[in-house]
Symmetry: C2
Subunit: 82 residues, 2 copies
């Protein structure tokens, strides 16, 4: 069993309104050192067998919207047997 973490983030050129709201709220709470917050997704997949090309396909087809989002992924751990 392989665990893969996929990180999906909005492209840097796009306005992240959820992130802006979070940053505004944190500043109001007194965290004035904050200059920006951006919010993305973290998707953890557990796979019977890992194939990099297939994970890339999953991201392109369903997990990320390549028009507005960037993604990257990493293999966290492989458990033999289980």
């Amino acid at each position: 069993m392989t665990t893969v973490r996929v990180y999906v983030t909005l492209k840097p050129s796009l306005l992240d309104s959820a992130g802006r709201t979070v940053a505004g709220s944190l500043k109001k709470l007194g965290y004035t050192e904050l200059s920006e917050a951006r919010i993305g997704k973290l998707i953890e997949l557990k796979l019977e067998n890992y194939d990099e090309a297939r994970v890339k396909e999953m991201c392109d087809k369903l997990l990320a919207n390549p028009v507005i989002e960037d993604y990257r992924f990493e293999v966290v751990k492989e458990t033999v047997g289980a």
Copy 2:
């Protein structure tokens, strides 16, 4: 300027319905090697000056719901000047 990445995930004991839906869709698309998907948040903060205790406070007060979510964070890079 310091960039901090906060990863917020649902506690493992809780049912992640969004993750289940994603896993179901991926299986329907033919990715039968998938056994589970869980969805969390990735929040990237840009801070004028980094203080670990204050970032922990931000997570507890606003970024995560400690009742149902776990979080961890890491410093990505520090840029001097900028």
